[in-house]
C-alpha cells in the first residue's frame, strides 16, 4: 500500500462511521447494460479522502478496482485543455448544463456543438481533441494522463472495453450525429474506440480521491508532485464539473452538496474541494438517474457533517495558515526548577511535544493535526496543542480533536490544549490558558512519574545556588537571608526601604507576567518554583513585568546588607552567587507569544 493508513486513524474512523451508517441503503441495482457491470457485487462500498499533501484516508472497499466510466470525463477534458487550450476546446464543445441526462442528444443549432464535456456526446468530442497523431496515440496519452492524475500506472479492462464497444449504440448514434453536424471529425468508429477505452480504465476509490485532489490542488498530483495540467485548466475543469458534472441533477447537487463532482455508471463518484481535498466514493448500485445510491448519500452526509458546501458564508473553504509545529528542538516551559529536575527534563526532550495551530481550525487543519500526532516520536507522552492563534473552530474539527485525544490516551499519550480564549474542545481538565502553563503541567507530571516532586519545597540550605561553597556552610548562608511569606494571588513588591538583591523560592510558585493595561494569559512570561531565584531585574518595569505568587509561597530574601554579610561570612558562596547565572537551562527555547 502506497500510503500510511492506520486503522485507528480518527479521520478514517470518521469516514468509516459514514460508510457504516449508509451500508444498509440497499436501493438500486448495478448498471445492467453490459454483463461486466451487472455482475458487480452490490455490497461493495468504499470511501477515500486525499489531502493536498498526498495523505490518503480510506475505509471499506477503497482498493477494489472498477472501470472509471464517466468519472474519466473531467480528466480527459483537462488533457484536451492542456493540449488545445480553452478557446479551441470550447469551439468544439460547449460549457453549458444541458438540463438533460448523460446521453443528451441535444446539439447546439448552427455549430452542432454538444452542450458540455460531461455528457457523453461532449466527452466523445473532448477525447478526440487529446493530442495524438492517431487513435492509438490518443488512447496511450489518455491512459498515461489518467495515470498521472492517479499517481500510478493504470490499465484497461479489455472485457469491459469489448462490451462497451459492442453495445454502445446510443453513443455510436451521438457520434454519427456530431460527425454529420461537423462537430466530430475523423473516423467515427476510431474516435468511439478511444472513448470506450477511456471508460474502461481500471481505478480504485483511492485513485478517485487522488485524481480529484490533483484537480483540487490546481493540477499538481499530491502523491507524485507531478504537475499534470496548468492550474487555470484545473480551475476550468472544476467549474464545468460544478455546473454540468451531475447531468440534469447538477442544480440540485450544487444546492444540497455544493461541490464539483462527477459520477459514473460503475458506481464511482469523485468530488473535489478547491484548495483542500479530493474525495472518492464507490458503490455499484445505481438510482434511476444512473448515480450510485450510497455514493450520493455519502457525499450529502460528508458535505453536511464536514461543512464543505462552497456557498457556506462561514467558509469551511477558509484556508487557514498551515499548522506550524515548533518541533524540532526541545521546548521547555520557562519554569525555573532545581538543577536535578531540570536535568531530568533535559534528558527527555521527546516526552513533551508541542504543535502550534494558526488560522481557522476546520476539517483541513484538524486533518493536518492528526497527522502531526501520528508522527510523534515513540518517546512522546504529552501532545500539547497551542490554539492561541486559532480563529473559528468548526464542529467537525472539535470532533476530530476529541477523537484524537481518545486515541492518544490509548497510545499512552496525554493531549493538552493551550487556548487563551478557553474554548472547550476536549471538555477535559487538560485545557490551559497559555502554552507556558500547559507545558509546565506536563513537565510536572513527567517529573512526578520520575519520582521527583516538582512542588516539593527546597530549603535554601539544600539549594545549589552557592555551589559547593553552599554545601560547606549552608546554615551560615541561610542566616544572611530573610524570609517572606506570599499568599496566592499576591503581587510581589520589592521593599523600598531595605533593597532585596535576591529572592529565593523555597516553596510555592511565583510567576512573572507582562505588566500591561490589557493583561492576557500570554502575558505570563515565566515562573519560579522551589529552588529558583529572582533578581531585582525580574521586577523591573523595563520589561513591563509584574511578579505574582501563583500559589502560597515562601521566599528567602537577600538584602544588599545581607549580601555584604554573606561576603564576609562565606566569601566563596557570595562570589559563586555573583558569578554564576541563576540557572543553566542553556537549551531552553522561548515559546513565542508564551
Amino acid at each position: 500500500m502506497r500510503h500510511n493508513k492506520p486503522p485507528d486513524d480518527p479521520l478514517a474512523a470518521l469516514l468509516d462511521r459514514v460508510r457504516i451508517r449508509l451500508r444498509d441503503l440497499t436501493e438500486g441495482e448495478p448498471a445492467s447494460y453490459i454483463p461486466e457491470l451487472s455482475r458487480a457485487d452490490p455490497d461493495l462500498f468504499g470511501l477515500s479522502l486525499c489531502a493536498l499533501d498526498g495523505q490518503v484516508y480510506s475505509c471499506g472497499d477503497s482498493e477494489v478496482p472498477f472501470t472509471v466510466q464517466s468519472v474519466s470525463k473531467p480528466f480527459v477534458f483537462a488533457l484536451a485543455l492542456a493540449d488545445q487550450g480553452l478557446e479551441d476546446v470550447l469551439a468544439r464543445v460547449g460549457a453549458e448544463p444541458s438540463g438533460e441526462g448523460f446521453s443528451s442528444i441535444r446539439l447546439e443549432p448552427g455549430t452542432g456543438r454538444p452542450p458540455n464535456p460531461m455528457v457523453n456526446a461532449g466527452a466523445i468530442v473532448t477525447s478526440s481533441l487529446v493530442a495524438g497523431a492517431n487513435p492509438d496515440e490518443r488512447s496511450a496519452r489518455i491512459l498515461a494522463g489518467l495515470g498521472a492524475f492517479a499517481g500510478r500506472d493504470l490499465t484497461v479492462d479489455d472485457a469491459v472495453f469489448a462490451s462497451e464497444r459492442a453495445t454502445g449504440d446510443r453513443n455510436r448514434a451521438l457520434a454519427y450525429l456530431m460527425h454529420n453536424a461537423g462537430s466530430l471529425t475523423g473516423d467515427v468508429e476510431e474516435q468511439l474506440a478511444v472513448y470506450f477505452r477511456q471508460c474502461s480504465v481500471l481505478v480504485t476509490c483511492d485513485d478517485l480521491a487522488v485524481m480529484h485532489a490533483t484537480l483540487a490542488g490546481g493540477g499538481t498530483n499530491p502523491l507524485t508532485g507531478e504537475r499534470v495540467v496548468a492550474s487555470h485548466h484545473a480551475q476550468h475543469v472544476l467549474a464545468v464539473m460544478a455546473t454540468c458534472g451531475m447531468y440534469d441533477a447538477s442544480g440540485q447537487w450544487m444546492l444540497r452538496v455544493g461541490l464539483p463532482a462527477k459520477s459514473g455508471v460503475s458506481g464511482g463518484i469523485g468530488v473535489a474541494l478547491p484548495g483542500q481535498f479530493g474525495i472518492g466514493v464507490f458503490s455499484p448500485p445505481l438510482d434511476e438517474k444512473g448515480n450510485s445510491v450510497r455514493a450520493i448519500a455519502a457525499c450529502h452526509l460528508l458535505s453536511e457533517q464536514f461543512g464543505l458546501h462552497l456557498m457556506r458564508a462561514t467558509g469551511s473553504s477558509g484556508r487557514p495558515l498551515p499548522p506550524r509545529s515548533l518541533d524540532p528542538g526541545p521546548l521547555r516551559s520557562l519554569r525555573h526548577r532545581p538543577r536535578d529536575q531540570r536535568a531530568a527534563l533535559d534528558e527527555r526532550p521527546d516526552r513533551i511535544r508541542v504543535h502550534v495551530l494558526q488560522g481557522d481550525l476546520d476539517f483541513a487543519t484538524a486533518e493536518q493535526t492528526l497527522r502531526a500526532a501520528r508522527d510523534l516520536p515513540k518517546a512522546a507522552r504529552w501532545f500539547v496543542l497551542d490554539l492561541a492563534r486559532v480563529g473559528r473552530i468548526e464542529p467537525v474539527a472539535a470532533d476530530l480533536l476529541r477523537a484524537l485525544g481518545h486515541d492518544l490516551r490509548e497510545r499512552g499519550i496525554r493531549m493538552v490544549i493551550a487556548d487563551p480564549s478557553a474554548r472547550p474542545v476536549t471538555h477535559t481538565k487538560d485545557e490551559f490558558a497559555d502554552l507556558g502553563r500547559a507545558i509546565e503541567s506536563c513537565e510536572d507530571e513527567l517529573l512526578t512519574d520520575l519520582g521527583l516532586d516538582p512542588s516539593e519545597p527546597v530549603p535554601l540550605t539544600d539549594s545549589d545556588l552557592f555551589g559547593r561553597a553552599g554545601e560547606r556552610a549552608a546554615q551560615a548562608v541561610s542566616d544572611c537571608f530573610g524570609t517572606m511569606s506570599l499568599p496566592a494571588g499576591r503581587t510581589v513588591e520589592p521593599p523600598r526601604a531595605e533593597p532585596v538583591v535576591l529572592w529565593y523560592v523555597e516553596s510555592g510558585r511565583l510567576a512573572v507576567c507582562a505588566h500591561s493595561s490589557r493583561p492576557t494569559p500570554a502575558g505570563r512570561t515565566w515562573s519560579a518554583g522551589p529552588g529558583a531565584a529572582l533578581t531585582p531585574a525580574d521586577f523591573h518595569a523595563r520589561l513591563g513585568q509584574r511578579v505574582m505568587a501563583e500559589e502560597d509561597s515562601v521566599c528567602r530574601t537577600l538584602t544588599a546588607a545581607g549580601l555584604l554579610r554573606l561576603r564576609t561570612a562565606v566569601p566563596a558562596a557570595a562570589a559563586f552567587l555573583e558569578r554564576s547565572p541563576l540557572d543553566g537551562a542553556e537549551t531552553v527555547d522561548r515559546p513565542e507569544g508564551a
Copy 2:
C-alpha cells in the same frame, strides 16, 4: 450618504480603474421593450463593493436609481424559502439550469414545474409563494424584504410597473401555461402584478452590493445587522445563482468568472462571494443575451484581478483571521532610552500606530487594513504593519498596500512593514525584520523630529541612573566604573573573573536576543541605547538570552568591587541604584512575538 467613501480610498480607486478601463466599451443598447428602460442613459456606469462589516466602496454612477428587474429573483426566492421552507418551494419550482434563456417556457413534464427560480417562469411562481393573505400583502412583504436586504426602505417605479404590466405578454403567457399545468395557483393577473411590481422596485448599484453582501454573509445585513433570512437559506440561494443565475450562460459564467451572480435587463448585475463580499455593477447597454455589456466585463476583470474565482486552488476564498490591531493603548519598542527621550515618546502615544495582520493577506484582509489606516488618529505619523503572522500575500493585496503607502505619504504618514519573511511589499526601505525594530526606527525618527538625538552618547556623568545623588558626585560615581568597548556584532560575555553587576551604555546600541538553536528576528527581545543599563540578569541563560552589540558601543561597567567602592564613595548613589528600577517606562507594553 450612509457610508464613508473618501475619494482617495485606494480600494474605491482600484474599482474606479476598472470602471475607467471599461468605460469606452460602447457595444449594446439599453433594453427597448418598454420606453422607461430604452430612455436610460447608455453612459451610466457604476461599481460598488460591500464588505461583510458594511463598508461600501463605490465609484461612478453608484447611486443612480434603476429598476431591479431580474436581480430581484434571488431575493424573492430567499423570502419564499424563509416563508415556505426549501422542500415546499422545490415542490413548486425546480433548481436545475434550463439551458435556455430568461423567458424559457420549458416546464417539467408531469409536474409542470418551471426549471428554476432564476428564469421568469420560476420567479413568477416564487413570488406567489411569498407569505401574504392576498397579492397586496405579498407585494408589501416583497418590497419590505428587498429593503431589508438593501438596508434601507425601497420604492416602486410606478411608470415602469405600468409599462411592464401593459407589455408583459410573454410573462403572461408563461403564467397562464403554468396555471394550466397547475404549478401556478391563484389569480394569474394578480400573481403577475406582484411579479411586475417586484421587478419595478428602484435600487442603486450600492444597494445591489449590500443586498448581495447580505447573501454572502449568510443572511445578515452588514449595514443594519438584521437577520433577513436563515444562513442555510442564503446558502441555497447562492447555490441556485451559481448554476442558474446567468440563464443559458451560467456554465460559461462559472467557467470564466466563477461566482454566483444575477443580472437584470435594466443593466444591473449582482455578485456574491460567500463569506466575503457583495458586488453591484450597473450599466444599461445590454448584449444580445440581455446582460449589461460593461457589467459583464467588469465582473470578469474583478474576478481575475482580485483572484475571486471559487474554483481557484490557491483560494482567495481563504478566510484569514480578522486583522488584530494592538490599539488601543500606546505601543513602545523595548528600546531603553534616556528619561527625557522616553518622556517625549510617552507624551505622544498616537504618533506611532501598529496594526497586526494574521492569516492569508488577500483582498479581504487588505481591505480591512485600508479601513484601519483610514481610522488612524489625527496625530498619527507612522503606521506600522506587522506581517509576522501573515501567510500567503495575494498580488491584489500587495497592490493595495503599495497604494495605501502612497496615500499615507500624501497624508504625511509613513507606512512601515515588519516582516520576518522579508517579502517585499512596498519595495521601500521601510521594511524591517521584526516589529520591535520597526517601532524603534519610527521612534528614532520621531525623536529626531523633536530635536532629540536617539543615538547621541550619554556619558555616565550625565546619566540619571543615580538620581540627584549622581548629579552631586558624578565624577566620583564614574570613577567606580570601568570601560568596555564593543564592536558591532560582538556578543557580550560577562567577565568571569571580576563579576560585573551593572552595564551602562554610553554610546551605540546593545540588543538582548532570545538564545535559540534557531535564532529568528522575533528572538530580539529588547535593546539598550545610550543612557540605558543592563544587569547580570539580562545575561542569564534563564530567559535563553544573549546580549549583542548592534552598533559599535561603549559600555561603562560596575563590578561587585566597584559597587562596594561606590557604597563608600557615594552611599546615596549606591542606594538609589539598588532601590530604583533601572528605568521607569511603566507604560511599556510588550508586543507579543516581538
